[in-house]
């Protein structure tokens, strides 16, 4: 899902950078106001942890593997989509500049897809599903699946606008692959959040009505 350099022309890359920077600035403001400025180091260390947990390979099917994006996980546990924007921006900068995973001119698009879209889709679909189903497992699974699937479709659309991949083929290829990875991401996120709630209920910022599927 990390679009590398060369797949998006410079003018379009600049537009994605500008949009991404607006959300990064909002995320920084969220961190200062909501987390209290002193707690920003905590988020920074957490970003390093999210980077590490992205390294675990997850078996998808037929020998293929994927890895957790973690946007939904961060947004749900910390109770804000801006948490995902903030953490994934840090992760994507390190991945792009140190590892060459993702690009420099395309970093804005990658932040927009995985950080902004992943975070907002993950967080608000979780809230919406909680309101409808009152079932935490279903809500987390749906949120994590959508937070994996929607950014992949967005990447396909961006490459279509760039003229580097046709729309239908791109949507099918990216959609099918990430729909499969999304199932694993959803399951793993459910198990991980349940574990976090049991081990450290104080850090999970969920202020919804009593939930089914979890016993805190």
């Amino acid at each position: 899902m990390h679009i590398p350099d060369a797949f998006i022309p410079i003018p379009q890359g600049v537009i994605y950078w500008i949009i991404a920077l607006v959300f990064v600035a909002l995320a920084l403001r969220w961190a200062k106001n909501e987390m209290s400025e002193e707690k920003i180091p905590l988020i920074a260390v957490l970003a390093a942890g999210i980077f590490a947990l992205q390294s675990f390979n997850l078996p998808v099917s037929m020998g293929t593997s994927g890895h957790l994006v973690g946007g939904a996980l961060a947004a749900i546990v910390l109770g804000s989509p801006f948490a995902a924007v903030f953490i994934l921006t840090l992760v994507l900068i390190v991945q792009g500049v140190l590892f060459g995973d993702g690009g420099i001119t395309t970093m804005g698009a990658n932040i927009l897809n995985m950080g902004v879209l992943g975070g907002f889709v993950g967080f608000y679909s979780f809230k919406g599903m909680m309101g409808i189903t009152k079932n935490m497992n279903i809500s987390i699974f749906t949120a994590a699946w959508l937070a994996c699937f929607i950014p992949a479709l967005a990447a396909a659309v961006e490459m279509f606008f760039a003229g580097t991949f046709p729309l239908i083929e791109g949507l099918i290829a990216m959609g099918v692959y990430h729909a499969l990875i999304g199932i694993i991401e959803g399951l793993v996120t459910v198990i991980a959040i349940r574990l976090i709630i049991k081990a450290r209920p104080d850090i999970v910022d969920i202020r919804d009505p009593p939930m089914k599927g979890v016993n805190v």
């Binding site: 797949f7 920074a44 675990f56 900068i93 390190v94 140190l98 420099i104 793993v188 198990i191 574990l195």
Partner: protein, 275 residues
């Protein structure tokens, strides 16, 4: 991926002319080359620009005294996924050509087009040049120097502080990741072992990832409290001393930037084609 950070950082501790260059010079050079090569239109002039940039890169890599194996290994780790996407371009039509000529027709209406093959090579050249300069930058510049360089170039202080802390703890979590994967191996757990029930494998991975999250959060809490004890507060920021570029750094940057800007312009304006 996180384990690679130890290998990458190890190479940055070697000594060479490129290693000794100011981080700002390497950051500007790498980003300038990437922007220049991406800015070249999707046409065959990319081949000439790409070849000249690759010769330039090879010269810099030789000056860095790093083994070509280091470069090839890192390139090999990055290329596969997007290499497949580039390969599939040969079957696809895109908006950059109006006419397509099939050079091979396959069953199910699939065809390989001459123009699509050209486009795939154009993407490949741009991709390899971009990645090569990122590899050069990260293999010859310590992460902390890169952060200080970025801060001196204007990275906002708030962001520099957070990014600096994240980078510092990447190594800690690299070790934690290694310990966790080793303990999974000692318990004969393999996420890809088909003899184990799939549900069991997913549950174990979920617990492992959840545990990593908690460890990261608790590490963050400890760091935060430790920082408070050392006087960290609302107005703290990462202090980076002002440092002027040395004459040698300035000269190298000036010449390099002239090369980076001149090559695409000359190739674009003059009928210079190496391929």
């Amino acid at each position: 991926m996180i384990e690679e950070i130890f290998h990458i950082e190890k190479h940055t501790y070697k000594d060479s002319f490129i290693h000794r260059l100011d981080a700002r010079v390497k950051i500007i050079l790498a980003f300038a080359v990437i922007i220049a090569v991406v800015a070249v239109p999707y046409s065959t002039i990319v081949y000439t620009v790409g070849i000249i940039f690759f010769v330039f890169f090879t010269g810099l890599w030789i000056l860095s005294r790093l083994s070509p194996v280091v470069y090839l290994r890192r390139l090999g780790e990055i290329i596969p996924l997007w290499g497949i996407v580039i390969f599939f371009q040969i079957f696809l039509k895109n908006k950059y050509y109006t006419e397509y000529h099939a050079i091979l027709t396959l069953p199910f209406g699939i065809a390989i087009y001459s123009e699509s093959v050209t486009f795939a090579f154009i993407l490949l050249v741009k991709f390899i040049i971009s990645i090569s300069f990122i590899i050069l930058l990260s293999s010859t510049t310590k992460i902390q120097d890169m952060l200080e360089g970025a801060t001196r170039l204007g990275l906002p202080a708030d962001f520099a502080l957070v990014l600096g802390m994240m980078i510092r703890y990447l190594f800690v979590f690299g070790y934690i990741y290694r310990k966790m994967t080793e303990s999974l191996v000692t318990r004969c757990f393999d996420a890809f072992d088909r003899k184990l029930p799939y549900r069991y494998r997913i549950r174990q991975l979920g617990y492992t990832i959840g545990t990593m999250f908690i460890r990261a959060y608790e590490q963050g809490e400890r760091v935060y409290i430790s920082m408070l004890c050392r006087g960290y507060g609302r107005n703290s920021y990462l202090f980076v001393k002002k440092k002027h570029l040395k004459t040698g750094d300035l000269a190298f940057l000036s010449v390099s930037m002239m090369v980076v800007i001149a090559i695409p312009v000359i190739v674009w304006l003059a009928p210079l084609r190496l391929i």
